[in-house]
Amino acid sequence: MIEASRIPILKIGDFLVASIQVELYDKSAVMFKDNLLQRIYETKAKGLILDLTAVEVVDSFMGRIITEVGQMARLMGTRLVITGLQPAVAITLVELGLELHGVNTALNLEKGIAALNRLIAEGEGA
């Protein structure tokens, strides 16, 4: 399970940022999901950015993990935004039939932080 622990989860203000730079196999993806939720709990982060800039394949298994991270984070009061999805990954996800419903996305890290601020503001207003 070295792969999962090799992904640093950084805290910036109220947000956590994790960038996947390694090929994750199924068991390490599940462990990474658990690590993210534990870090949310420990840091009481309001937002989480999952940066997929370096990810070349998102199959149905990884798609499910991402959707679950979003749902579980939401239950803990934290919003998830995915950033840096490559065009090829976006195309294969749609062709695969996985549109990652309920997952917020942004083009890059900067826009991701703006999206999180917006989501949190909307949530507090409601």
Partner: protein, 132 residues
């Protein structure tokens, strides 16, 4: 002709198979989007092997037929077989806890898709993509 055989026994082999497939697709001249389609389809089919048959293999090879060039991936196992192939190809159908998009998704990502499955004998899925 290029050919690579990847034994598939665990989730580690799923990654090996899709990395090998992507590399060969790149060598053959496929663009990045097709490389991603091919790698994703391999990922789905080899996961099916690990999940349902426990063990099998992926044969990844170059195709050259009558001036047409492409890539072929054969995912085969000696697992329990699929009782209803039509049903297994339907979107959202799954006997495990997955999303049930694997088989139908892999078919959409590739140009050709063939499946032969016999109960108690095993399953062979062949997928192809041609260079344009």
């Amino acid at each position: 002709m290029k050919e690579r055989i990847v034994p598939v026994r665990s989730d580690l082999d799923i990654v090996t198979a899709r990395v090998e497939g992507r590399e060969m697709a790149k060598e053959l001249g496929f663009g990045v989007i097709d490389q991603a389609r091919i790698a994703t389809a391999i990922s789905e089919l080899t996961r099916n092997i690990v999940q349902y048959a426990e063990e099998g293999r992926a044969i990844i090879r170059e195709l050259d037929s009558g001036g047409r060039r492409g890539i072929e991936i054969i995912c085969e196992d000696q697992g329990p077989g699929i009782p209803d192939v039509e049903l297994a190809l339907r979107d959202g159908y799954s006997t495990s806890k997955s999303l049930g998009m694997g088989m139908s998704g892999a078919r959409r990502l590739m140009d050709e898709f063939e499946i032969v499955s016999e109960l108690g004998v095993g399953t062979t899925v062949t997928i192809r993509k041609w260079l344009r």
